[in-house]
Symmetry: D2
Subunit: 491 residues, 4 copies
Amino acid sequence: MGSKMLRGRFKGEMSPKLKEYTSSIDSDKDMFLEDIWGSTAHVVMLARQGIINPKEAARITAALEKIKDAYQKGTYKLKAEQEDIHLNIENAISKECGPNTGGKMHTARSRNDQVLTASRLHLRAESLEIMKNVLELQRTLLGLGEKYIEQLMPGFTHMQHAQPITAGYWLTSYASSLGRDYERLESAYARINLSPLGAGALSGTSFPIDRKYTAKLLGFDGLQEHALDTVSTRDITIELVSAAAILMTNLSKISEDLIIMSTKEFGYIEFSDAYATGSSIMPQKKNPDLAELVRGKTGRVIGALMQILTVTKGIPAGYNRDLQEDRAYLWSSLAAVKNSLIVLEEGLKDIKIDKERMETVTYSDYSTATELANYLVRKEGMAFREAYDLTGGAVKDLISKGKDFRDVKYLSDVLKKEGIDISDKELYDVLDPGKAVYRNNSIGGCSPTEVARMIKDMREAIKERGDRLNGRNLKIEAAKKMTEKAVNELI
Amino acid sequence: MGSKMLRGRFKGEMSPKLKEYTSSIDSDKDMFLEDIWGSTAHVVMLARQGIINPKEAARITAALEKIKDAYQKGTYKLKAEQEDIHLNIENAISKECGPNTGGKMHTARSRNDQVLTASRLHLRAESLEIMKNVLELQRTLLGLGEKYIEQLMPGFTHMQHAQPITAGYWLTSYASSLGRDYERLESAYARINLSPLGAGALSGTSFPIDRKYTAKLLGFDGLQEHALDTVSTRDITIELVSAAAILMTNLSKISEDLIIMSTKEFGYIEFSDAYATGSSIMPQKKNPDLAELVRGKTGRVIGALMQILTVTKGIPAGYNRDLQEDRAYLWSSLAAVKNSLIVLEEGLKDIKIDKERMETVTYSDYSTATELANYLVRKEGMAFREAYDLTGGAVKDLISKGKDFRDVKYLSDVLKKEGIDISDKELYDVLDPGKAVYRNNSIGGCSPTEVARMIKDMREAIKERGDRLNGRNLKIEAAKKMTEKAVNELI
Amino acid sequence: MGSKMLRGRFKGEMSPKLKEYTSSIDSDKDMFLEDIWGSTAHVVMLARQGIINPKEAARITAALEKIKDAYQKGTYKLKAEQEDIHLNIENAISKECGPNTGGKMHTARSRNDQVLTASRLHLRAESLEIMKNVLELQRTLLGLGEKYIEQLMPGFTHMQHAQPITAGYWLTSYASSLGRDYERLESAYARINLSPLGAGALSGTSFPIDRKYTAKLLGFDGLQEHALDTVSTRDITIELVSAAAILMTNLSKISEDLIIMSTKEFGYIEFSDAYATGSSIMPQKKNPDLAELVRGKTGRVIGALMQILTVTKGIPAGYNRDLQEDRAYLWSSLAAVKNSLIVLEEGLKDIKIDKERMETVTYSDYSTATELANYLVRKEGMAFREAYDLTGGAVKDLISKGKDFRDVKYLSDVLKKEGIDISDKELYDVLDPGKAVYRNNSIGGCSPTEVARMIKDMREAIKERGDRLNGRNLKIEAAKKMTEKAVNELI
Amino acid sequence: MGSKMLRGRFKGEMSPKLKEYTSSIDSDKDMFLEDIWGSTAHVVMLARQGIINPKEAARITAALEKIKDAYQKGTYKLKAEQEDIHLNIENAISKECGPNTGGKMHTARSRNDQVLTASRLHLRAESLEIMKNVLELQRTLLGLGEKYIEQLMPGFTHMQHAQPITAGYWLTSYASSLGRDYERLESAYARINLSPLGAGALSGTSFPIDRKYTAKLLGFDGLQEHALDTVSTRDITIELVSAAAILMTNLSKISEDLIIMSTKEFGYIEFSDAYATGSSIMPQKKNPDLAELVRGKTGRVIGALMQILTVTKGIPAGYNRDLQEDRAYLWSSLAAVKNSLIVLEEGLKDIKIDKERMETVTYSDYSTATELANYLVRKEGMAFREAYDLTGGAVKDLISKGKDFRDVKYLSDVLKKEGIDISDKELYDVLDPGKAVYRNNSIGGCSPTEVARMIKDMREAIKERGDRLNGRNLKIEAAKKMTEKAVNELI
């Protein structure tokens, strides 16, 4: 059976090559348990609505439970020739309960809404995990931000020293980006957690089903109503993958920074031994593979996004078999996201910052030049462009002499030639990066006071989001229990 | 000047090839007016905070106004050698007010936050347009849905007749998808309409600026606070493009359907002459170019998404010049979205549906076979799989005899042989597509009653969204007036 | 051991999460046998060059052989905690021969060139398979082309009937496209089949290795010389995936045509039962899943292309761990290509063409209108645009009267009013699609004579390519034997 | 006229919105001159074959010449409402020669093959430019490679110092990659330079055209024969874009290296002032915008590749309007490639390498550790893994003591404790990077001798390719003259 299922009107078997080709077991098996849950809820509802009788329903749900146990113990074997997990399970049920009873499980349902239900439940679980991991990484970043809130370091643009900042400011910038990633995930979740069950093949059903009840049993927040829309589209999946892809570009930025800052030349940071890797022939190496792989796995998620966008481009309404490919790289790419967040969080938590190196470097560049220009604007009423040109000239002079801003005396002489008279002390104050970072206290600026304020605000947002996330998880747990209870009450 | 700007510490000119290569005027020019508005608000704020004096501010804003007028009249010429619109405008200002005054416009600002401000304002305008067009297309689809709410047509899966539905049901499925597209656009908008102005180069500024005030003058709903995060990332842009790409896959589905249904073979629909095109050598042709181009332009938006994801992958924190490329295909792809929505809406509004053809076809296929199987389940208490197999066998028999369900007599004989006794009248009722569509009244099903309910609900949602959209546009108009007023009050 | 390998300078173990994260066993396992072959050739060469002694070499190669046997029998178990297949094998060797001997296998080699060697060997095998399948599909298409060389059918542009063609012409157009796909694959092959072995970590080695000898043992056509270039780049892989992606867009076109032409409305073709699938609830359905999946799997290959392009964008020279991700979707996407070619070839071979339907449809459209215009140009010396307008007007008239070109009388009257006098017989000849297709005998045109010529030429090209392909396979077989022989001669 | 062209059978005008939407003038205008050439060759052939008379042909070609002159002088204005450049030109011709004569230009041709011809000619020109620029960049890289053939620098893997190499070796690795890029471009060229002219709308033509003759006049190397294949596919364009995208990933690697190596921390290289850019508010900045933009523009080409792959996915055979979008980002992305090659070549030519810094850094790391391990293998007959572990241990010891390999004494003591007795001199020789680089003289290794050999070989390949390229350009020039001559001989 199984391979012969769904071939009512055909003469003969399907070509073995085609059978193999059409199988989706590889991308289905991740949602095995979700399919069982979906079928259980469906059968409970069928009984409740009087569409099948409670005894049969009880036998089917018991069989489903048995398969679930076998699967969890690893004793259940999926048969590739049975096309997908859904037919695998249906076959097993029929074997268990006899075709007469087992054959009733699929009443008032189509594989179209069945598959969507299982995959929506799995998408939901993956989303919640990713969301949890984002919050965790944010928490770690804010902790580090607080720890290094006064630690001077160069701020970069074009990878050149631009203006002095603090390590706390740098690290919290990542947390800030991740906040938007979280918002996108949460926004996608609102569309993910809607029940497709009951959409049927494309037009609903003539059986008196109760879609709201199955949605409740499965912990959905509502229904995706229009049946034809439901079976024809995959935009909900694409939205999640796209939020994940954007998140990965943000993680790839963190990775790139970590890789560069842990070079011998930069020497700003060092991964702990537990988060670094060695070389197969160069025993002296300590490699930031963690960050390189996060950067590399960005490709996985962008690739998965392009894959599914390609699939959905230009196919007609109604279910088309192309849509089976919506999961081709889906679970693998979501796993990449989940795990990238975890290893990055772990690796960052243990990271060693070379405080002295960071500070020394900051004092030896010209990155407070903007401060000097700003000072001239404020103090001398100069136009910014004029101050800019003058300061630029001074820097050129210093470079040619091999000097930097720490040589206040020399600099003040240069400025005097331009008619600017500043006391050495004042000049020192203007140019001292340690003082400069405190002055940038515009909203969102690098001043430690402002950073502390942002940390506080972001923590509050995280707290709130974490609470909401817990609420979602609890609701799902409750739904599982409700399903169990309903099963038990069948007889 | 201009080409020499920003070269304080350098000896000599930039290579002409490089100057051309680094220019971003092509992708900047669309946001010329937004840059003027951004600078105006900035200067007003500088004066209000006492950073520059009101007289100078008035001279600068007057000059900005003058340039704006020239631009709108088409008399202003952008100079490519001045790298971007921002330096073009700054140069013009300095020429107009003298470098002493003009040079003050850029106080307490960097090109980084300046460019972001202009591009955020333009993104916002484009988003609102796209949102408006989505609502418009939904309205038209719902209107059509109502008009054809009882018009029978085949429902397809795998492009094969599956179950009878109505044209109203089919058309409203598109409106339903578009509802999610709208939600995504609105969700992106929440992150788009935040002010980046005041982020400076990467760390805020030491000038006592008022970010909230400029945000208000520019009609933003709030601030994007963390300055380093603000200048380093483009996820907000990517999110919009990604929502647009998903929307386009939905439009490409509509297009595919329209193309196929307007073939000679299908003959279900026909574009009006104003929305069809001819051939350069085949005078008899009537081509659905409209739909083909919408399908084709999907590539533009997916390509733009891939382009910007590639740009942002793996670049370090802080502004990097790569980010200039965030607009490489941006405006062109958003224009494709805006216009695809418009032409599709126009083309659909006028579309001719061949009612007779649709109905005849529906009556001559076997698409109520599921209904028969369901009936056997309900009436005979058969397991669905058994009913499925039996019905499949009957269809096979009919096909081999060249008959269809309209030959109720023959079919009832076939069923009798299987021990099923149904009166001809009952069989007719079960198999009549016109009756069948009414029976599918599960939530989201194709029954006209249910479709009417969904139309009502979707219209309410559209109404609400339209109101919110109007509110946004009004707020922006008010902000423009507020800026004008503040400019007038400078002196 | 194993998990501790390569951690010479580190204190403590790697984080378990990171170990799991960095593992590449999933994408490596497909090239297990190739890694064994690569190591065998390397060890034979080391002995031949006197770098290790022959006895040790013999022990190592014997151990490699043993592992290979175990693997082929399915008794070898890969350990995920040993990061990749290479360390798995190295560990097994050391266990088998003792660390003293086993530890010599990796002399004068790095994991960088080792992995590249295995993956190049596997890429090569996959390329050859794909090439073989392309030729097979072309052969089938040309066979069909010959069979239906005179079978009339409408030629489409914009999915509208444009000009009459033959089914043979239509089917050979696919074969023609595939010819270019083959060329691209063959061109990529020239860069794939070059040996990376001996590149070391990034700079070659100070051991006196013989790269040309290992290349010969492994059946490579030459060397990829520059070691730093070799380890830093993946353009060779990308090129293959990109050729495969382009090939898939061509297959997606075939699929789209097959899907549309097998709708009830078109009814031009029908898949045989062995190549069609059924529905889970609609027993009457016969679905072209085969073609839908080929179209859908296009996404897999395009996604894989985008994945690997993303990975390689902007990473520095030298090996970076990101590059491990070059195989993330690689084998899965190449398998999709291989199998799509196979099922399409099988499905097409058995396809049923409804000859009568195709012919009838062709006679009932206006698709010889261009012929009429051309005739007027030739016969009446009319300008083409004038003839075009006149013919267009006539078509408009016929449509309004519900007539088509078969009503020659009516048409000749219409033409007469425009001052054109053509005998009915001549008009019939001009407009008869069966005659028209024969007239288009410009090079590459649809005339059966011309199609026959193209079939002959394409068959010759296929023959030549097939011979070259065989030569490549034979060379590889010979290299395997040469390696075996060299192993046997070690002692 | 124009807007009304091609509307023979329609009532009324096209919707203005749709007219704007369907216009392709933006992406066509780049190939204006090529369209003129294509039409000229076509008309000459029509006359030669007696399809139109020579006098009319002469009038048409004269008009084409006139339009060309106007266009080149900038006095010709394209009208957007005339859909594309082809109809613009056809209208201008009809105005110039009268519709009777002008209307004959389009005899035996369709817009399908006409557009393909113009775009193939332009693709060809762009390809040749890109190829030229690749050779130029290779030449510069090899020149630099020669100049710095003995300049020590650290070789990186994972951005960590791995083994000492030379700057010459590093720079030639880029030239080596570019060699494959060239091969891909040349391979694509073989398919690009084939004439589509004469394919007609989809099935050739019944006029006695001479496709080989027009191909000759247009400098094509042969024909793309099968007409339906020719008009249906765009794989030739995709292949070029894909070769270009791969090339850009290679350029993005060069860019990433240049950006990192020109940081203050690395200080290995410095762009000359003419190739660096400044900041709008930080006068001390010297930014490697050049390299950042090359890295960023990689997105443009990958995005364009994705765009066109999306367009061609799943559309049916025959011309579909979607295909117009094959040029949406095409010219812009090819321009990005051309110019990236140019600015990179210019910028590299002038680059300053800090020789002392590079050397000092190389001496102060542990990057000859592999050398030490190899030495122990050779000298002590140790297994490589044992030597690796021992060397790793020694490095760990040195790091903990803050020492490096320059402290030979200390190291030899450490080794003695492990029972290894090496004289200080020998140890020094083994560990000296200057000596080490010379030892890696396996094929493709970093030894200056080997690098010199590779430079010589690559130069020979470049010479040969350059000659072939010149040949192509000369052939095209000759074809232009041949067309002119044929035009002149018309009367």
